[in-house]
């Protein structure tokens, strides 16, 4: 693989070279590979599907079938920061719905929308494992907990600043 061309950075390509050897079968690396590829590329493009299929040794169709199962994997680009608001039961009891509505207004977008400047996407998500610190939001992989609309504004502001850097 190493000698072939790759669409990934040298670091990620090296990581993938190793990943497929960790398991009794190469295919076990498929789901992690797709997620790591998405982290670098932004989404699972056709080129990602093709290269991952080749690395794992399965058909592209198999890769597409698998990726469509997992809710974190996407086939379209989204904003730089994906604001994922949990509205599941524990968050709902502590203002998760209101927080989601607040984010919609603040960002001017709805569920699975992206702001025109490409900075934010918004998503209503299921339980993210922060139930005792509800309501909770994940921005990309970072957790923000015990939120209020006011503290949510601060969180959004921080990311907006980050985007400008």
């Amino acid at each position: 693989m190493a000698t072939e061309t790759t669409i990934f950075s040298p670091e990620l390509a090296a990581r993938f070279d190793k990943l497929v050897t960790l398991y009794p079968v190469r295919r076990s690396a498929l789901v992690p590979m797709l997620l790591y590829a998405q982290d670098e590329v932004g989404y699972i493009s056709k080129a990602v599907v093709a290269e991952v299929a080749r690395r794992v040794g399965v058909l592209e169709n198999d890769v597409v079938s698998v990726l469509s199962y997992y809710s974190m994997l996407r086939t379209q680009p989204i904003g730089k920061f994906n604001v994922q608001v949990c509205t599941n039961i524990c968050c709902m009891l502590r203002g998760g719905n209101e927080l989601f509505e607040h984010c919609k207004k603040r960002l001017g977008i709805g569920h699975k929308g992206t702001t025109a400047d490409g900075v934010f996407s918004l998503e209503e998500v299921e339980c993210i494992g922060a139930c005792s610190w509800a309501p909770a939001v994940q921005v990309n992989y970072d957790f923000h907990e015990n939120l209020t609309p006011e503290s949510m504004d601060k969180v959004l502001e921080e990311y907006r600043e980050k985007a400008q850097k």
């Binding site: 076990s28 690396a29 974190m72 994997l73 524990c90 502590r94 299921e126 494992g129 139930c131």
Partner: protein, 437 residues
């Protein structure tokens, strides 16, 4: 950062290294780390399993299956390699405890996997984390690397001549993948669709080999049991329910949080003393005692000990240890609907009773909540849910049906109050455009 909350009644066993820097392997060793694995090598497989049986540890993933017994089902001789699989998918709403273990004490999971491997003769373990837990995957990867560097993992662990490899693995968003057979499918790089049983994973599991699947908290508890002895551990809990567990208190409480308490701890006390009671002097309306899939309890039903048997006797389940407290302002129809929306969304679609059942239930609950329901809808909801029970390929169908049946049975009047155009009497309730669309 996720943290443990303290209270005088807390008994720190699994959590005893939390907040003490134990992600660092040297610190973990200072805090008695990897002693249990060495001890287990000396003890040999049979003695380890006997100790596990004596501990009365029951699985913390939800079903409460006795861990020692589960391990003893693995055949001694096997042509195919055996495996240990850690379930860290943690996706049942109200559950946020495994996260604390991965964050504060990752080596305890590795040590638990090694001991499980020694007990059943497996040479490889996988630690599967839900995709959302990326920061924990980084912690776990580092911990595994450090354990290899010390010779605690690899071809010759602790100089014993025994081989054991461990690999951490990430999912990519799917509740169903927490179901043990779907978990194996996912780890094999496939869609997370459940497998028919029998054969059970202990006989035919990952890559066709005998496999032990345990929840992360279950395995993190194992080293403590080996260190302190099964009988000592059992003493902390109640009959047939050994030790402690991490209870995740959430909802309308003054002090929600994750608390490690003895098995059998009184639920009422958990809510009013440990969790600080309900804010604003409001009245208690209901408690979901063990994660979103467990039947709701009424205020007069909560004077019970929180172990698998006592909660079972009260008509619910201890489940994954997520205790959700609902005060009098909650609309139970909305709560039932939100619960069902989750299961409908997460149903893998493989079997019809679950895929269609959850969808119909969501639609019916939506209609009732919005005021468009008629009397017959309530009976239909109950009928549908009852007919899903035991008829789905994996227990996700039960997880959706059981709480629904209890909501209707225990709060029927509240469902009726929504009917015939009246709609939700709880004004604060937000309508979900996405659902109603």
């Amino acid at each position: 950062m996720a943290y443990l909350t303290t209270h005088p009644d807390v008994v720190p066993v699994v959590s005893y290294r939390f907040g003490k820097g134990a992600t660092n392997i040297d610190r973990y060793i200072e805090l008695d780390g990897y002693k249990a694995a060495r001890k287990a090598i000396e003890m040999g497989p049979e003695a380890v399993i006997a100790e596990m049986k004596a501990s009365n540890l029951r699985g913390r993933g939800g079903a409460g299956f006795p861990t020692g017994m589960k391990w003893s089902f693995v055949p001694k001789q096997s042509e195919k390699p055996k495996y240990i699989l850690v379930n860290g998918d943690e996706s049942e709403p109200a559950t946020c405890k495994d996260r604390l273990i991965f964050e504060h004490d990752p080596h305890s999971v590795i040590e638990g996997v090694i001991i499980a491997g020694l007990a059943v003769g497996a040479k490889m373990g996988f630690i599967y984390l839900r995709g959302e837990y990326r920061y924990l995957l980084n912690i776990m990867e580092k911990a595994i690397e450090d354990a290899y560097a010390k010779g605690f993992l690899g071809k010759n662990i602790f100089g014993s001549g025994i081989e054991f490899e461990a690999v951490s693995h990430t999912g990519a968003g799917a509740y169903e993948v927490g179901e043990e057979s779907a978990l194996m499918e996912s780890l094999e790089g496939k869609r997370g669709i459940p497998r028919i049983r029998p054969p059970f994973p202990a006989v035919v599991g990952l890559y066709g080999g005998p496999t032990v699947i345990n929840n992360a908290e279950t395995l993190a508890t194992v080293p403590h049991i080996i260190r302190m002895g099964g009988a000592e551990y059992a003493k902390i809990g109640t009959e047939r329910n050994g030790g402690t567990r991490l209870f995740c208190l959430s909802g309308h409480l003054e002090k929600p949080g994750v608390y490690e308490l003895p098995m059998g701890y009184n639920l009422k006390r958990m809510i009013y003393e440990v969790g600080g009671g309900i804010p604003g002097g409001r009245k208690l309306k209901a408690v979901v005692p063990g994660g979103s899939s467990t039947p709701v309890l009424l205020p007069e039903e909560i004077d019970i000990g929180m172990d698998f048997d006592q909660v079972g006797k009260a008509g619910s389940m201890l489940g994954s240890g997520g205790v959700v407290v609902l005060d009098e302002t909650v609309c139970m129809v909305e709560f039932a609907l939100r619960t069902m929306r989750f299961y409908q969304h997460e149903s893998c679609g493989w079997c019809i009773p679950c895929r269609e059942g959850t969808d119909w239930l969501k639609k019916s609950l939506t209609r009732v909540h919005a005021g468009g329901g008629v009397d017959k809808d309530i009976d239909n909801i109950q009928y549908l849910a009852e007919n899903m029970l035991g008829r789905t390929f994996c227990p996700l169908g039960d997880a959706a049906a059981m709480p629904t049946i209890a909501f209707v049975k225990k709060f029927r009047k509240e469902f009726e109050d929504h009917l015939d155009g009246k709609g939700c009497p709880y004004k604060h309730s937000l309508q979900h455009e996405a659902v109603l669309a």
